[in-house]
Amino acid sequence: MTNNITGAKALIESLKKENVEVIFGYPGGAMLPIYDELYDADIRHILVRHEQAAAHAADGYARATGKTGVCFATSGPGGTNLVTGIATAYMDSVPIVAVTGQVPRSLLGVDAFQEADITGITMPITKHNYLIKKAEEIPRVVKEAFYIASTGRPGPVLIDIPKDVTTDLLDFNYPEEINLRSYKPVAAVNIEQLKQAASLIKASEKPVIYAGGGIIISHAAEELLQFAELIAAPVTATLMGKGAFPDTHPLSVGMPGMHGTKYANYAIQESDLIIAVGARFDDRVTGKIESFAPSAKIIHIDIDPAEIRKNVRVDVPVVGDAKTVLTKLTALIKQHQPKTSRWLGRVNKWKKEFPLHYKKNDMIKPQYVVESIYELYPDAIIVTEVGQNQMWAEQYFKYTKPRTFISSGGLGTMGYGFPAAIGAKVGRPDATVIDIAGDGSFQMNSQEIATAVQSEIPVVVAILNNGYLGMVHQWQELFFEERYSSTVIEESVDFVKLAEAYNAVGLRAVKPEDVKPILKEAVESGKPTIIDFIIDKTENVFPMVPAGAAINEIIDLE
């Protein structure tokens, strides 16, 4: 117990108790007492240039490390600028704690300067949020916030603190235990359901394991590998599940859904049993829901009961943590002779027949850039923006370990990648961190070059520059009679000069043979580096399931 410390000091002390090593943030009037405490505190603060980037960086840090990310912003616009980042983390179940300053209690509700009802605004995009009314609440609320953010299905928690609360005095006593009668994050696994699941699996001749981000969150990659090998089933990992199962493994069939592989989609459609683990049957995965996996029974394993039967019918629901459930299932099924050899033969035939492919010419192909990154830096952490760049980054790099592919899946937030890469690099300074970007997405948070330079965070941004808002442009080409409404942005910015203006390294590649040397130069520079890859602008993302179609109605190049 420490007597008579300020609310601001109590906040910092509480964060230390939660082993917070870094905060991404931006100060402001309502945060002055807190930033004053931070000045001498033994916690690193990364000053961003826009609060949205603080939230994304905390998110990228969390995804790269598995720890809870922390961001700070001031009242009013500070908080509202966090909103996109919080929503991104919410959709992808990422644990972050956002602390916002608020106007003093006496001014709450009177439309004071820089007042915004941030708890009201973030209600539908946080797992939980708090408006602190008394300084004494700070330790308990911080303890609860980290617990709620990181347990069960993780998610963002926001704490809003009025300025006068941060200057009030309290006796500081950090609680040892959580007492939340209304929150029980993990239920015991129902053994009857497990047995039912096991018997369906044993009987199945055409199973498919559909693995999502839940595997990564639950640290269950090893358990998934053992389970998949035991039952000899093909594994399709979602965008959020990239790295949960090695892309290099013979049982891997790549990603399902809209820009998934043909063979993953064909396998799902012909399967007699879908085993979904930590995945949520998102519309980008299922395509036309009525036609999804028409002959399959579905086992749905998820920690969040609300995900079960939300989008699809389920034959056997199993509520629980992926790691626990997979361990128990594997034990139940032990000494099983899978009946899947014919099925695997069929899937492998599709794999050979319909591989991911593109045509080379004398221009730089975006796929080639991604392949080159994989060849040179197979252990890199790849972060992406959103759109074509994201899909190419998913398709042409082979992910083999959890937390090496970081991307905004659910919300699809352009501008996510660069600040998330900064967060990832701060959390994993040992790793090579490369943001695979588009020229459109990158411009949504390019101001963060200043953050990377000032805080010496050497991330590499590989811009696949086609001068288009590429994914929308692709849809216009295919479905809107080539009417390119507001998607052409070519020659509007010189990214090399932009990098140099911020004292970062700017490089450009225009020929395929420049790609690898320039990538090496960027990584070896040890400095924040922006590479402008001028790519073949006619290149599109294939294969592709048109909106509203079944996932086997997939179109390909030619």
Partner: protein, 171 residues
Amino acid sequence: MRHTIAALVENRPGVLTKVSGLFSRRRFNIESLAVGVTERPDVSRITIVVAGDDTVLEQVLKQLNKLIDIIHVTKLSPKNSVSRELALIKVGVDSATRSEVMQIVDVFRAKIIDVAADSLIVEVTGDRSKITAMEHLLSQFGIKELVRTGDIALHRSSTTAEDIANQGEVN
């Protein structure tokens, strides 16, 4: 299909907003919602009537359960629960119709709680169909204003909010 859901929630500011926000965001249809404190001052009870099929009901229950401030959610079946609604109905009357209205009120075991020269306010308690019947009968005299509380309901067993709240703490 109409379902009655009882939720015990932390009696804190903003909880009702979280519940109603969840309903609008997930496009669940609320027919009525009533909220009040229970025998424990730190716990409120929300009774919600929702329209939808069983899939919708399942989602409503699960999504409500995810809200951190919700202690316990349950669906009340008509068999194992009792529910009541209260309505206040201001009916236009004159010397000719006043006694007729009073007779209807008697038959329904309702009460007249305010008398004016040209109107009466009737208080009626009962299940939804009783109130609807009453409203229908009084409409011929001219209803000037009407307010209904929405259903409140309790499970028939002897479980109290205290029990459930304590159970929550143990688990």
